[in-house]
């Protein structure tokens, strides 16, 4: 038993090394970085972080990203819940075809959609707003949420619904007060995935925004190239993008293992 645990430890060390390097870089001055190799920051500085927290073009990037990711997660889960319920409880005309069609959208390369999305969202005058990115990310997050939630709902016995209706619950009341709480873990896991895939996606987010809604990830590419390659600043901005993800995983940590197992193909 003890000998086996060496494998996950080595794996986690491997995962942490590049992250350590990014964080270490963020505390170094540009001079120190360019002067040569140093394992630890020699002249520890918070200058890079100060730039990000005082310059609106930097910190608005974070606010923008968090805004559209949140909108996307809320929309995806809200519309996916009733749909997943329909798929898990009822047979209806074209249900299987519809389910498969939804999943095919998860397979579409974002690069295929970049230009048409730009034209579409310009045409409906949503270009460079949170809504554009939030709605565009629905393309892959809604199918995934339906897929995950349907798996969880399949694990809830149908008797639960029937008993509630016999007891005189209306459908909306049953759905909101009994059914959704019974698949809490599933909602958590689906929200986690929506957050994750919206937070990490850049190609569409960058294509659909210019100034007002520009995501932090895009701010990084622009500023890095215009102000000369400022590695310390880039590393600090990168380090800060890890934090929201870390917070979200912390909240779903107890569901991660159990949650995955219940979602099925």
């Amino acid at each position: 038993m003890q000998k086996r645990s060496i494998v996950p430890i080595i794996y986690i060390l491997f995962l942490m090394l590049p992250i350590y390097w990014l964080v270490a870089m963020s505390f170094k001055t540009t001079n120190e970085i360019l002067a040569g190799f140093s394992l630890f920051p020699q002249t520890f500085t918070l200058e890079n972080y100060k730039v990000i927290f005082t310059d609106p073009s930097w910190y608005w990037g974070y606010i923008n990203s968090i805004a559209y990711v949140t909108i996307n997660t809320v929309i995806s889960i809200t519309v996916a819940l009733p749909a997943a319920y329909a798929f898990s409880r009822y047979r209806f005309l074209g249900d299987k075809q519809l389910f498969f069609w939804l999943l095919t959208n998860r397979m579409a390369p974002a690069a295929v959609f970049a230009l048409p999305f730009f034209q579409l969202y310009s045409a409906v005058e949503l270009f460079d707003t949170y809504w554009a990115v939030a709605l565009a990310h629905c393309l892959f997050n809604i199918p995934l949420s339906v897929w995950i939630l349907e798996g969880f709902m399949g694990g809830v016995p149908k008797e639960l619904d029937e008993t509630a209706f016999v007891d005189g619950y209306s459908f909306p009341r049953f759905f909101a007060t009994i059914f959704i709480p019974s698949i809490k873990a599933g909602v958590g896991v689906a929200a986690f995935f929506c957050f994750m895939f919206s937070w990490v996606e850049l190609l569409l987010a960058k294509t659909l925004t210019a100034v007002a809604a520009k995501p932090i990830a895009a701010t990084m590419t622009k500023t890095a190239s215009s102000a000369g390659y400022e590695l310390g600043l880039l590393a600090a901005a990168g380090t800060l993008t890890i934090i929201p993800g870390a917070i979200v995983i912390y909240f779903v940590r107890n569901y991660i293992a159990k949650g995955f197992a219940m979602g099925r193909v």
Binding site: Y11, L34, G238, T241, A257, A261
Partner: protein
């Protein structure tokens, strides 16, 4: 048993509208471009299937497609067994389990261009941790901006770093759902470790592994941001994957017709392979 109820369509309607808005309208735009030629000013000429023939015959497309399949093949044969092995060696319960899971999930929540930038900083020959170690401690001449092999090794390592955890988490979820009684029964029967794996653990992991392999296939086949930031598709064209090539044609050269035709071929290949995977992996369940 599910009951027949056509009103269920009302539940599905919001999803249908949102996804259709995002999928059908852009898809029609792509189809539209793929059969026309334009010289700007919104003037279009009917081109028929010329673009499709041109793309299917172009050596550039064949090369990018070949690199794409090689990349996806390599990361699948590394990440899937490695992920299973790590999941098997994890403890089933204990204080450290949530800590391990959180740390393992971390790479997946980092924006993709930050992953690229992070690996760029990590592998810089003289000031990156890995680059310095390889060049100055081990004495291997490593510079991925010059050497295609080094670029490939770096991209594969980056993807293994980035996504193996997905396989680990999913396999682990399958493993913890196995009741202890199964293991006890196997112990009484004197089953070897291999037969425990082959007849108890692997079948239990099958559905989650199907999800893992499908997701890894789709995402690696559509990979764009990480190699774009890390190598920019270079040196030369050696790491230009399909998506990078597509964006070059569509937004770089603004050749809308060929780009649209390539998009459709690309999407069709992704669909076909996903369908094949899915059918192969769920074949036994149907019998």
């Amino acid at each position: 048993m599910k009951t027949e109820n056509q009103k269920a369509w009302f539940f599905v309607l919001p999803v249908l509208l949102l996804v259709a808005f995002n999928a059908l309208i852009p898809m029609m735009t792509v189809v539209n471009y793929s059969v026309q030629e334009t010289f700007g000013d919104n003037v279009f000429f009917w081109q028929g299937l010329d673009w499709f023939q041109q793309i299917l015959r172009s050596e550039r497309f064949h090369a990018a497609l070949g690199r794409q399949f090689l990349f996806t093949f390599l990361i699948l044969i590394i990440e899937v067994p490695l992920g299973i092995a790590i999941a098997l060696s994890m403890p089933r319960k204990g204080l450290w389990v949530p800590v391990c899971l959180v740390l393992m999930a971390l790479p997946m929540l980092i924006p993709w261009n930050v992953v690229g930038a992070m690996w760029n900083i990590f592998t810089l020959p003289d000031i990156g941790l890995l680059g310095y170690f390889l060049n100055h401690v081990l004495g291997i001449n490593y510079d991925m901006t010059q050497d295609p092999l080094a670029a490939w090794v770096t991209i594969i390592t980056m993807d293994v770093w980035h996504w193996t955890s997905l396989v680990v988490l999913l396999s682990y979820a399958g493993l913890v759902s196995i009741p202890d009684a199964y293991y006890q029964a196997a112990k009484i029967d004197g089953a070897s470790n291999w037969s425990v794996f082959r007849f108890i653990q692997l079948p239990k992991m099958k559905t989650v592994l199907t999800i893992a392999i499908l997701l890894r296939f789709m995402d690696s086949f559509n990979i764009y941001t990480e190699p774009f930031v890390l190598t920019g598709g270079g040196p030369g064209n050696s790491t230009t994957m399909l998506s990078i090539d597509l964006v070059k044609i569509a937004l770089g050269q603004f050749d809308l017709g060929p780009a649209a035709a390539m998009s459709l071929i690309y999407f069709a290949i992704t669909l076909l392979v996903s369908w094949l995977f899915y059918t192969l992996m769920t074949k036994d369940d149907l019998n």
